[in-house]
Amino acid sequence: MTAVNIIERRRRMGLLRSSLCAAALTLLMAFCFTPPNQAQAAEAVPTCNPSATNGCVNGILQDASKKPIAGVELKLSGAESATTTTDANGNWAFSVGKDGSYTVTMDESVAKEHGLKAATATVKVEKNSFDAARQVVRFDKPAPAASGSGGSGSASGKSGSSASGSTSSTTASSDAGGAGANIGARFWQQLYSGVIFGLMLGLMSVGMNLVYGTTGLSSFSHGEQVTLGGLMAFVGTQILHWPLVPAAIAAIAIGGLTGWIQNEIVWAPLRRKHVGTMQQMIVTIGLSMALQYLFQFFFGGDIKGIVKSVPNSFQVGPVTTDSPTLISAGIAIVAIVGVSLFLYRTRLGRATRAVSDNAALAAASGINVEQVVRIVWIISCAMAALSGVLLGVYLNGISWNTGATLLLLMFAAVTLGGLGTANGALVGSLIIGVVADMSSLVIPNDMRYASALAILIIVLLVRPQGIFGKQQRVG
């Protein structure tokens, strides 16, 4: 059994409390145990840490497949010299006293046997400098190409004593494939995660679109509603120690409640005063600011995890996933479909669209405009809270500004689909989610949102009213 396996098993059994790595094991297995005292001459030590008085030449000897090569004798020569033997993990270390050049050599045959490219390496140690106080020598590097200030190895043909047996497994199975191979491996997974993210985004956007569709208001504080949902779920699970489901339900209820309250004390009076949507939009900016920092006030600036554990993932076809993700996606779909049905099939849903078209006429048709808008705010904020919970679980954390950072994507999704259309928000979200997630296959990761936004612009150039928007006639 190799040392790695031992470590592995012990970890699983939880026998060792902490610091379980090579160091502890080496202590037991080291041939010569010398405390790292004021070494003047080079010395073989189990582990070496550079200090004011000593530098280190150390390394790990392993073959291309990361199998440690134990029991190989290594010779240090140069300003000082010493000899050591690699331990079960392949670790070896020399503590050296003098600055200068050192060469580490091993038996050529060992190198051959394990498919190492070189058997010697020369490094320069300088006790005082961070980049040269410790030199790590690795013989399993790919080719003798690189050479820099640090320890670089050069192949040489010196002979040495043969090392005692360790099986040879020379083929490098885990060599990093090219980018091309990666794309193949990543394609389905990223498509999948894009879809999932799109669904989450859809859930938020539909709520936002509902408010836009009914009152014409682009709510910049919708992101904070999402954050609120996530944070409330965090309070439930992590502070009150409730199970996730009741915590989520409570979060949604609180979300809906905030929607109701803010409609009563902010939006309804503004509408009564006939304040324009632009002005209301500024109010949402103010609200978003206030809420964000209120969150920071109560929850601090760090990311909060709603659940601590990471669920076990499993493989479905080419895709790795886990059950919470699938359940979240299911909930999102149900919620979005529900809202779409609500909008297109129910009386109240139609009323929301009527109110958005012409509130005065809606009132004249016997629709209680205020009540419709109230319901819309409640649904919208409750959906935001739901999405906050799902998102917090899916993205593994929520912080005071998570919603704000997603706001732009929500806007993009809503616009892409066509402002004020329910299924548009979903389709837009899916497109944004998939493009954002998949684009990192071809462009640098930090630009992936740029590609999603670029898609938005391109689509709008072709269809200025969004994908599902309908063009109005002139005249």
């Binding site: 009386r347 009527a354 809606a362 006639r473």
Partner: protein
């Protein structure tokens, strides 16, 4: 003409006796009684300066007047869409001053605005659904009824109202108000933009509806046609009642003709001779 009232009073409260303000008014308690309404859009600027109007059960009352007289404002204030600063409004004995529009709808008042009178991004059918919002069960029956008046609406029921022609919109607007089978109907220029045939049709329908028991207030610039079907008419000028009388009487009143009705028809007829 005997039936016409004197010039409007200066103050917001019309001091003339009731019989002069509402010439030709039938006996009994009015269904809708608007007294000395003062209303406006912007604080400080009143558009209505003491306008009064009564509507009795089973009547058709017409309002005419120059552009900007405040006719639409009067209708809107009756319907709670414009804030009434003073004066009061009584429907079936109940004070409905500044009552919310949707409440009025449930009291059986229907309204067709002059402009922006359809939901452009809803289909025709959905517009009709909105009309029947408070009585969704009766939708099919009412929809068949309005389609009999405006067959085009039935044919095109899935077209967005926003893409309709001007006249078609007007049909939608009228039909929407008829959907809820109101007991009082407020119409603001229902015939504008309709073809002559449909204009006539509309007026006839208004009479039919009225015969079926709906009391109607109708604002019209197509004044002749309108006054032909009205039991009584009011002439509104600068937010005040200028004249009132039975429809026929107003039609023939030379002052009303010269100030408000014009005589294009006669002229054309004269030319045609």
């Amino acid at each position: 003409m005997t039936a016409t009232a004197s010039a409007p009073a200066a103050s917001a409260t019309d001091t003339r006796p009731r019989s002069e303000i509402h010439v030709g008014e039938p006996e009994g308690e009015p269904l809708l009684d608007a007294v000395d309404l003062v209303a406006g859009y912007i604080p400080g600027v009143n558009i209505l300066n003491g306008a009064s109007l009564t509507l009795h059960e089973g009547e058709i009352v017409g309002i005419i007047g120059p552009n900007g007289a405040g006719k639409s404002t009067l209708l809107k204030s009756l319907f709670g869409l414009v804030h009434i600063h003073s004066g009061h409004l009584i429907l079936k004995g109940e004070d409905i001053t500044n009552l919310r529009a949707d409440k009025l709808v449930s009291l059986g008042v229907g309204f067709v605005p002059q402009t922006e009178n359809v939901f452009p991004s809803l289909t025709i059918a959905e517009n009709m659904h909105m009309g029947a919002y408070q009585a969704p069960k009766k939708f099919n029956e009412r929809f068949d009824y309005v389609c009999s008046i405006f067959p085009r609406l039935g044919e095109r029921k899935d077209q967005l109202a926003g893409s309709l022609s001007g006249g078609e919109r007007q049909m939608v607007a009228m039909a929407r108000a008829l959907m809820m089978n109101p007991s009082v109907l407020l119409l603001d220029e229902p015939s504008a933009g309709l073809s002559p045939m449909l204009q006539d049709e509309t007026f006839i329908r208004v009479r039919q509806v009225n015969k079926a028991g709906v009391s109607v207030i109708i604002v019209e610039q197509n004044a002749r046609r309108c006054l032909q079907i009205c039991d009584r008419g009011y002439v509104l000028d600068q937010g005040r009642n200028a004249y009132s009388g039975r429809g026929r009487d107003l039609l023939e009143d030379p002052k009303v003709i010269s100030l408000y009705l014009g005589n294009l028809e006669q002229e054309v007829e004269a030319e045609g001779q």
